[in-house]
Subunit: 188 residues, 2 copies
Amino acid sequence: MELQGHVEALYLGDAKGLEKTPCETLAFTLEGITGDKHAGFTKKADARNPEYKRGTMMRNDRQWSAVVPDELAEAARLMGIDCIDPAWVGANLTFTDIPNFTLLPKGTKLVFPSGAVLVVEAENMPCVLPGRVIASKYPDLKLSPNRFPKAALHKRGLVGVVERAGLVHVGDVVTVQVYEAAIYSFAG
Amino acid sequence: MELQGHVEALYLGDAKGLEKTPCETLAFTLEGITGDKHAGFTKKADARNPEYKRGTMMRNDRQWSAVVPDELAEAARLMGIDCIDPAWVGANLTFTDIPNFTLLPKGTKLVFPSGAVLVVEAENMPCVLPGRVIASKYPDLKLSPNRFPKAALHKRGLVGVVERAGLVHVGDVVTVQVYEAAIYSFAG
């Protein structure tokens, strides 16, 4: 199955912390996004990899992250706030016009006009760190940082790797090739 | 779901052509198998990647390949021959005691005692190249090289990448963590 969506905004992770810098273009190489702190073929195991000792070198399956505003708006509604800006939660890309974005299966490909191809590795599990950033944006509400992980479950977007290099621009059409496991025939 | 199997044999792709060299140990790094021609974070697009111009640099999702003898024996039976040696079809690993090996889903992890972890990327689609090697082993039968792609469909094993480095030895227990997509709760 193929869907088409659009690139609404792009963000570069060029600074410490979770918040990212808006930009008009991202350059994807096979290592990830040029200039982004999550780029690399490898990474150190962290709290998301409890099966490995922290710091163990492992394959980097989180070269990029992406969200859609309608899912973040629903998480914001559940938290009782006006909005969650994608830049607050560390996304590199925001898309529009892709229904149930966070439910896209592992192996789904995102194809861009330049030839760049991103592959979905996993749902991005929401954690307390963006919850702290969001709480800091609404100081009067005294939000618990734990509100975000609950409200954003299955609404926090996807992470993945780069299959083919290329540029991605704000306004680009993105073609979503939904991964389907092979259908097996046992007829011989 | 977790299964346990065993490493029956190992092969290093250290020469031209499809056939590989049996060995007692393989060293897996995050780039693939040390000394194997398929190692690397990247590869050139080939006949298996018709969506890209041949030679385009892309992510290497085929750092290793693995088969099980019972599936190859069934392919051999369908071809009317005695056996297909895993070394003839370019496998790096052969396992025993893993039922329906080629049907394991993308994302399944193979965990070894050293700590090495391999991740399944895809079923290895059988092509005519090993068909030629197999035909050459039975010269009297004058087999068509096209017999193998048909007989070995869904019996030709898996390919994938390395998530964590380590050694793999003949005789090792392998723990198979079968990938299951997240089960989504919409209860909020």
